[in-house]
Symmetry: C2
Subunit: 487 residues, 2 copies
């Protein structure tokens, strides 16, 4: 496990370096190095000595103390998944994904779905074969969602997403009847990158990201990675819109604080890292949406924000800022979507994936279905596929089943928030005072510390006493929509 | 070989990151990751399947085409060296080096040789055992010098260094009789770091370092590393003295251009990288000393240097600058030494190493011998051991036999320069015009391209038709000393 962790850390540092610092001419040699490390990691996990070790562990699992047992269950989960796929399929998939990645970039740049379509068809076929080998009880997509959110099934998601869609749709109808708050003062475009980075860094420090064990840098797309629990790297981008850098950094710091909060005794073991994409996203969204889009947060931060970014005579107050960071506006692009309409982008993708893997839909049908659903759910139709079904990278790397994690993250975060408010009745005034230590401690105790040893269902039921539900999220949004657009 | 190269590249990127960017809290987890990668690389090279592969390659070596044969000879050289040491000794040495490294830092900080001495004794004992296992014909130090400069022996070095010492000593006596040129205008201390970095970067670009396949960053001590031939990283530091950053960058760019010039077909094989420390140093010193301390170089660069760094009314010209970058001043510190007295620092260390490994000298005798030799060779005695025998990191990582490479680098560079002037009669006017392309091309053809497939003796005899000699270096310095200090 230590060796696999070291190889994964090496791949992560190369990947971070590639996004932030790598000279352009190094692209090809870097790809070779990355492929080499990945193949070594795969060989380590599937070699004969690992196979016999895994069987020995499995036979003696119940006799291990709880702590070791937790780690070994994570190891066996990884092992069982890896050995189910023959080397042949792994290699063919890696090759197809590499080609699809390049084809997707060109297809998106040229708005040419036909160029990407054969690659997409090939990946769907390969992932179908993988799903059959992994095995599933209900829907074929279950086997793929399990890679990102262990245990998640279409049978669980379908009813939740149906109610979520209805709730979002109703609120969206209300929003449409009201005027939008003014937010033009947030896009004045003349604030230097260094100022925005410094401010975002101060806020990240304040909410609890530990820069003694982390960094913040620039990259084309914001992300968070880590090379150990004590070396967590955030990246962000800076745009004219003053919300972009700040909210990206808070989001990535949410991911980063999760990694920093995992029990260090899990370091270099299969139990290190976040347990699922959904729980990881719940942590980034907890800070980005629930905390940083709250009225209390802006009561605390607005004076500093104003001093850093605004003319002395700009007539804006904390309440207006609260409204401006909570605007709901249907748009074409998922990653630019607001807290409410974001789900429609996810549900659309999920429904397409579900049909692709049940065989009802073919890759070539995607553009038409995409545009139809965009009109139904958000009332807008993409003018081209580049702004439609070609916008996301996920399918080009074979990441089918990944998208639901994003919406689950919001639902988990809302369930956590409901419990936080019971456990910490003064949490809102703590936020208004810029005091986040108790809140972070709550997340550390209830989520972070466990690493991969507790699955998302266990985490969320231990916290809330309930199964996954959209109710808390819809109730939370109900208040916000009333705040922003209410009478 | 690809896997070993990938692991080495991973160790290199982690090391570079540690020196330039790593958050301080990551120190321990980083050390664990590095140890893990190093142990994987060692296991790969010594595992049973590699052993049988190596024997198969050895048995069929002569039948391979030249190109493959060159690579396989490099592989066998690495393999043969590694398998000679039992795992037990490798582990014990790694542990002793780690402890010695920490002890050295404290000892140097507290000027306490007694703290370092037992570690040094232990390392000398371990390296003696390694030398016996590697094997040697003449002196035990031969087996250790071979790690840095394959084939180098005490029998070769002794007469060369004896004549070098005499020559340097004679010139130093002459220098002592003359006044020093003024260089106070180079230490005004108010030039921002960004300005110095930008200027150094422009010069590095101009001499031929390819920033499309490389970077320049800041670190505590300048170094050059690479993660492939197309990803070469230089670092430097900035001080009040305007020479520090510029000459460091030119030096490191010399190393970097060597790596960038190696035949890319050797990538991810045992033939990638520079062939020896001496040849590597010859490339950095060729650019730093022979080119960048030449009169013609400053005829070209001085107008730009003046415009960037000096007041319009500073009365300095290119000729004065040429003198200021060629000052000879005996000092205590090796890495701050000038082109001439540098050899005395090396010869002193070499003579001590030679006595340590012949058994004539014990670790505890080093401070006294060091100070005595400093007085004899440079006429100055260190006021304490921190500025004397504790100044260098090399012995603390067991790098006995490394120091001669530095002086060899200067001798090789002078031998190359003698040949360059014959092959390119207009080379001086090319330098004066800021045109370095033909010069770099000459080094590419005669040195860089071969990677590790030609040893330093072959490289230097192919170029010059002669064996290693100090003659060209002394002749080159003779002219310079006359220029700077002559009548």
């Amino acid at each position: 496990m230590g060796q696999v962790a070291d190889l994964d850390a090496a791949a992560a540092v190369f990947n971070w370096d590639q996004e932030t610092l790598m000279p352009p001419g190094a692209l090809n040699s870097r790809a070779e190095t990355m492929a080499g490390l990945s193949s070594m990691s795969h060989s380590l996990m599937t070699q004969a000595s690992t196979v016999s070790l895994a069987e020995e562990i499995r036979a003696n699992l119940e006799e291990l103390p709880d702590f070791e047992q937790g780690i070994m269950r994570c190891f066996l989960r990884d092992f069982d998944r890896l050995v189910k796929l023959p080397d042949e399929l792994v290699r063919e998939t890696a090759m197809a994904e590499a080609l699809a990645g390049e084809a997707w970039k060109t297809a998106r740049a040229n708005d040419d779905f036909a160029e990407f379509q054969p690659h997409l068809s090939k990946l769907i076929e390969l992932k179908s074969r993988a799903a059959e080998l992994y095995g599933y009880e209900g829907h074929k997509l279950d086997a793929l969602m399990d890679l990102f959110e262990p245990g998640l099934t279409v049978a669980t998601v379908d009813p939740v997403f149906a109610r979520l869609k209805a709730g979002v749709s109703a609120m969206l109808d209300e929003v449409r009847e009201h005027e939008q708050p003014d937010d033009s003062y947030l896009t004045n475009g003349d604030v230097p990158s260094e100022t925005q980075m410094r401010f975002a860094r101060e806020v990240a420090t304040k909410i609890g990201f530990d820069f003694n064990c982390g960094r913040l840098d620039l990259s084309a797309h914001p992300f968070c990675t880590n090379f150990s629990h004590s070396d967590v790297r955030l990246t962000t981008r800076v745009e004219d819109d003053l919300r972009t850098c700040l909210f990206s950094v808070i989001h990535e710091a949410g991911h980063g604080m999760y990694e920093q909060g995992i029990d260090p005794r899990y370091a270099r073991s299969a139990a290190a890292g976040g347990v699922s994409m959904g729980i990881h996203e719940s942590q980034s969204l907890f800070w980005e949406d629930i905390v940083a889009r709250s009225r209390e947060f802006w009561q605390w931060l607005f004076p500093q924000f104003r001093e850093t970014y605004m003319d002395a005579n700009t007539a804006v107050d904390a309440e207006q800022m609260y409204r401006a960071v909570n605007l709901v506006r249907p748009g074409l692009i998922r990653i630019a979507a607001d807290e409410l309409t974001y789900h429609m982008h996810i549900i659309l993708r999920y429904e397409i994936e579900r049909s692709l893997f049940s065989g009802e839909l073919k890759a070539e049908d995607i553009p038409a279905v995409w545009n139809e659903k965009m009109r139904d759910y958000l009332g807008i139709v993409p003018p081209n596929n580049a702004l439609g079904c070609l916008q996301d990278v996920h399918w080009s790397f074979g990441g089918f089943g990944y998208f639901p994690s994003y919406s689950l993250g919001k639902l988990y975060a809302a369930m956590m928030w409901a419990q936080v408010q019971q456990d910490m009745p003064d949490v809102r005034s703590q936020i208004a005072a810029g005091n986040f230590a108790s809140l972070l401690d709550w997340l550390r105790r209830n989520v972070h510390q466990y690493g991969r040893t507790r699955d998302s269902r266990r985490i969320i039921t231990d916290i809330s006493g309930r199964e996954l539900t959209e109710k808390d999220y819809l109730a939370y949004m109900r208040v916000k929509i009333d705040d922003i657009y209410g009478a």
